[in-house]
């Protein structure tokens, strides 16, 4: 099952612009609404990894959670231009709690 996939970067324009130079598919969005619909659109296409800025993810947690148990896309939070909100670490903690039943790390 080695199909070819693409990588998407979703976030505000200033945060994601640089990724374009690397050849990733960049989706600059301006509002949360737009981000939401773009994310669902991306999820149906051949994207294996979606990098999403924490600033956006903070406002659309339910949408992100929907893809948590799916194989694709993997939604990975990255800090946006305004800095890290610590959500990525928080998510790791949550999955540990989910698996173990308590935060043991």
């Amino acid at each position: 099952m080695a199909n070819s996939y693409q990588i998407a970067v979703l976030g505000d324009k200033d945060s994601v612009m640089g990724f374009k130079a690397l050849g990733l598919t960049v989706f600059p969005v301006e509002s949360v609404e737009q981000a939401r619909s773009t994310l669902h659109h991306i999820a149906r296409e051949d994207y294996a990894v979606v990098y999403l800025t924490e600033q956006l993810a903070a406002q659309m947690e339910t949408d992100v959670a929907r893809y948590k148990d799916e194989l694709t896309p993997a939604i990975i939070l990255i800090p946006g231009k305004e800095g890290s909100l610590g959500m990525g670490m928080e998510n790791i903690k949550k999955s540990v709690e989910r698996a173990v039943g308590a935060d043991i790390l």
């Binding site: 640089g18 690397l22 698996a99």
Partner: protein
């Protein structure tokens, strides 16, 4: 048991015994699976934590480089410089099976082989800061991909562990005790039936014996009486 009614028959008992055996075996296997998954998961999570800390730190550095670059250049010029990427990335995904959890493994392929060759613009019109930012981003990208792979694996494993844990608990605290209760109930009921049958048979045997004895006594009495009446030696009967 308690809430379900079982037929106290031998067939039901055999069926329940089979069920108990399966449940116990399943319980053991699932428990082993959970333990091993947990071990792998914790390893993954440890790796993930350090990887994420590293990537976040590097990305923040990249962002600040971009900020400096955008301060030195006009927004249009910068957008123009990054508009047409030279590089493109193709991702292929294979799967690795960790204790029956399929986790993705990403391999990426770039269009140009040289990883340094990622600048989609001429150096004349852009600031040096932008070069640094793009180069740094190119470097952090590999770690980002690894991060994506590890994080997805952790998420999927967390889900599987949760499922397995629930199954183990359901078997341990519900299915197995319930079945054992049912088996105990049926065994007792069958034993009780056995005992009552034995008792009944003994009773019947007593009654028959008593009847036979009484009949014999009556016969004897009749014989004695007949002998006494005739006063002779009894004739052969």
């Amino acid at each position: 048991m308690a809430n379900t009614v079982v037929n106290p028959t031998r067939m039901e008992l055999t069926r329940l015994k089979g069920k108990l055996k399966t449940a116990q075996r399943g319980h053991k296997l699932l428990k082993d699976k959970r333990d091993e998954l947990m071990k792998q998961f914790l390893d993954t999570v440890r790796e993930l934590r350090s990887l994420r800390a590293q990537v976040e730190e590097e990305l923040m550095r990249v962002h600040s480089s971009f900020t400096v670059a955008s301060a030195l250049m006009s927004a249009q010029a910068m957008e123009q410089a990054l508009m047409y990427p030279k590089q493109s990335v193709e991702l292929t995904m294979t799967f690795q099976n960790i204790m029956s959890v399929n986790v993705p493994v990403y391999h990426y392929q770039t269009r140009t082989d040289d990883t340094g060759d990622i600048f989609p613009y001429g150096f004349a019109a852009t600031s040096g800061e932008l070069d640094g930012a793009v180069a740094a981003l190119g470097k952090v990208f590999q770690d980002m991909l690894k991060l994506a792979q590890t994080e997805k694996a952790a998420q999927l494993m967390a889900e599987e562990i949760e499922k397995t844990r629930r199954r183990v608990n359901a078997l341990e605290y519900v299915v197995i005790p319930d079945t054992q209760d049912s088996i105990r109930y049926i065994t007792m009921k069958l034993d009780e039936n056995d005992r009552s049958t034995t008792t009944r048979l003994m009773k019947v045997k007593d009654m028959i014996l008593k009847e036979a004895i009484e009949e014999r006594q009556a016969q004897d009495a009749r014989a004695v009486k007949a002998f006494g009446d005739s006063g002779e030696a009894p004739t052969e009967v």
